[in-house]
């Protein structure tokens, strides 16, 4: 991100504490309260005694901290939350690793290797970006049924192992690497695989991180496809499973439901706090390149 030129001339200092700055910060504070409010309410409710969840006036700071809610949701008799976590983790890790491999390989071929029909094939593949996945859901379901994959994690993993957007992203990145690096390696007798692994991979690290973050969070949060393909509770992913906390089969108090949701949001928040800059830059980069 390029810094605005202003910053070099008008460096921030106490002398610049103008009313407009105070007003802007105040407005931003209000906006951020609104943006963060659902999470604050969720956290607060997850620590309350059930009957005080909707007390009037609302108390965001619980009188009595009830950690019992968390124990209840972790050891829930009918809704196995830890199981859902493992399922989601399993699927998201496999999909992310799979895409990193298939997208890198394909992107390298499209960006760096010469073969007949390269450009045409690439354009044809790009049309996949135009076809919304959800629109093909009905035939895809029938296809999966034909493969006998309904109610398996494979139905979620297999279609997600390749990703045209990932190929496109990495290809754009690989195109910026100077040819000379590759030529030198070729003179030394390195083949395409060695060039890819030893020279290209270290150079496209940022793009790989971007892809990994986007794919992992997307898979972790997915709701629609698991809803379609999974029937057995034991196989549910976290977003699908946690909505079952307030389903017809188990009536839970709002406090326990909020504890369940908080348990899933907390790791994301922690990861975000650690990777904040990296994530934000990579998302901005992804959007910019599309």
């Amino acid at each position: 991100m390029s810094k605005p030129l202003v910053s070099s001339r008008l460096r921030w200092n106490r002398g610049y504490l103008r009313t407009s700055t105070v007003l802007t910060v105040g407005a931003l504070l209000l906006l951020s309260l609104f943006m963060a409010f659902p999470f604050v309410w969720m956290l607060s409710a997850s620590l309350k005694v059930p009957k005080t969840a909707f007390s009037i006036p609302p108390q965001l700071w619980p009188h009595e901290w009830r950690w019992e809610n968390y124990r209840q949701v972790l050891f829930h008799p009918t809704v196995p939350i830890p199981r859902f976590f493992l399922n989601s983790l399993n699927i998201a890790v496999l999909v992310t690793l799979g895409q990193l491999v298939t997208c890198t390989a394909a992107a390298y071929a499209f960006a760096r290797l010469r073969f007949r029909g390269r450009e045409v094939l690439f354009v044809v593949l790009l049309t996949a970006l135009m076809v919304p996945a959800q629109v093909t859901i009905v035939p895809l379901y029938i296809e999966m049924r034909f493969f006998k994959l309904i109610d398996t994690h494979a139905a979620l993993i297999l279609p997600a192992l390749t990703n045209i957007f990932g190929v496109f992203l990495l290809r754009q990145y690989l195109l910026t690497i100077p040819d000379e690096l590759e030529d030198a390696a070729r003179m030394d007798g390195a083949g395409p695989v060695r060039i890819l692994v030893q020279i290209m991979l270290p150079l496209i690290g940022p793009a790989l991180t971007t892809l990994a973050i986007v794919v992992f969070t997307g898979t972790w949060n997915a709701f629609f496809f698991p809803l379609i393909f999974l029937n057995d509770w034991q196989k549910f992913t976290w977003p699908l499973g946690v909505t079952m906390l307030r389903g017809q089969y188990s009536q839970n108090s709002v406090t326990v439901i909020m504890a369940g949701i908080t348990l899933g949001v907390a790791p994301v928040l922690l990861a975000f706090l650690v990777l904040q800059r990296r994530m934000i830059e990579s998302i901005g980069f992804t959007g910019g390149i599309k």
Binding site: M1, S2, T21, T24, A27, L28, L31, S32, M35, A36, F37, P38, W41, M42, P58, A105, A109, L113, R114, F115, R116, L121, M130, V131, Q134, V135, T136, V138, P139, L140, Y141, I142, E143, R145, L158, P159, L161, T162, V167, D179, R186, M187, G191, P192, W220, N221, F223, F224, P239, V242, T243, I261, G264, V265, F272, R277, I283, G284, G287, K290
Partner: protein, 310 residues
């Protein structure tokens, strides 16, 4: 391209150039094989299958039978379809408009002259909701939106306003879905617009000031035109995305009251996976696809009238 590279790439001139090229091509095909297979099986296959299925009757139990345009006739006669497509169009327009305004306000505020610490902090707060599953966080909003016990209405009453029937009134429910969904996703477009703002050269504003442009004039005549490529991208991507809306209305309202908040994709889900009328569901999917294509085409066709490329 280096001289050595040219020799190696062209092949024939250098020693073993021909076999190198062949090896390259073979490696290339091996490298793209997974992607091509995935494309054929999970993109082309379902598209062809969907095209065929749209003209068939199929309920998983009896073999599919060809019925011609029956599914499309049924769609015209379907009393619910107009409301549902209408809802979806309402969502597309409402969400994109609100998202654009909201994201622009956040981006402009973040781009203003404030200490770096605040910038990083606010950017993080605005961005975070996007990382949380829309389906899951909709459960939280379900309680916030509650007519009698919800905290939003409690604050409204406190401010001297009336309670809003967020999720139980047919007139309000779509707006509530829009608010929640935009809240969830606004961080992404905020980042895009912020990047766009930071790429506007300061010289333009200085030139504007010399020409006597005030704050609003320079926003309207410099900032907005310079952001049009980003705005165009947001419109195209937003329309494609919102046409497929499912998660938030599914959890917030299940499409109700009645069909007041149901989207096309929810209807496809209902017809396909609840009623097992797969041919009809596929036909609706085809129409939705055509609608998305048409809107995207119109957006691109009209873009040269207002998108300003440097």
């Amino acid at each position: 391209m280096g001289a050595v590279g040219q020799v190696l790439r062209r092949g024939g001139d250098g020693v073993g150039g021909r076999s190198l090229r062949r090896r390259d091509a073979l490696t290339a095909w091996l490298f793209i094989l997974p992607t091509v297979v995935g494309f054929l099986v999970f993109v082309i296959g379902p598209i062809v299958g969907g095209l065929a299925l749209g003209f068939m009757r199929y309920d998983l139990l009896t073999p599919p039978s060809f019925v011609g345009g029956e599914n499309f006739v049924k769609m015209i006669e379907d009393q619910r379809i107009l409301q549902i497509f209408g809802n979806t169009v309402y969502y597309v327009v409402g969400m994109i408009a609100l998202d654009l305004v909201w994201a622009l306000i956040l981006a402009v505020a973040l781009n203003s002259f404030i200490p770096r610490f605040f910038k990083v902090f606010f950017r993080a707060v605005f961005f975070f909701p996007i990382l949380v599953s829309g389906a899951v966080i909709s459960i939280v909003w379900l309680y916030l939106f509650n007519m009698d016990l919800g905290i939003i209405n409690w604050y409204l009453v406190k401010l001297g306003l009336d309670r809003v029937p967020w999720l139980i009134s047919s007139d309000w429910v779509r707006n509530s879905v829009i608010i929640m969904t935009v809240w969830n996703g606004v961080g992404f477009n905020m980042l895009l617009l912020l990047a766009g703002l930071q790429n506007i050269p300061v010289e333009l504003y200085e030139a504007g000031r010399i020409d006597g442009a005030g704050r609003w004039a320079s926003f309207g005549r410099i900032t907005v035109p310079m952001l049009t490529p980003v705005i165009f991208f947001i419109l195209v991507k937003g329309a494609i995305g919102v046409f497929q809306l499912f998660d938030s209305p599914f959890v917030l309202t299940r499409g109700g009251p009645g069909d007041a908040s149901r989207t096309v994709l929810m209807y496809i889900w209902e017809k396909g996976f609840q009623v097992l009328d797969f041919g009809y569901a596929a036909a609706i999917g085809l129409v939705l696809f055509l609608a998305i294509l048409a809107v995207t085409a119109v957006q691109f066709a009209t873009s040269d009238r207002w998108v300003f490329y440097r």
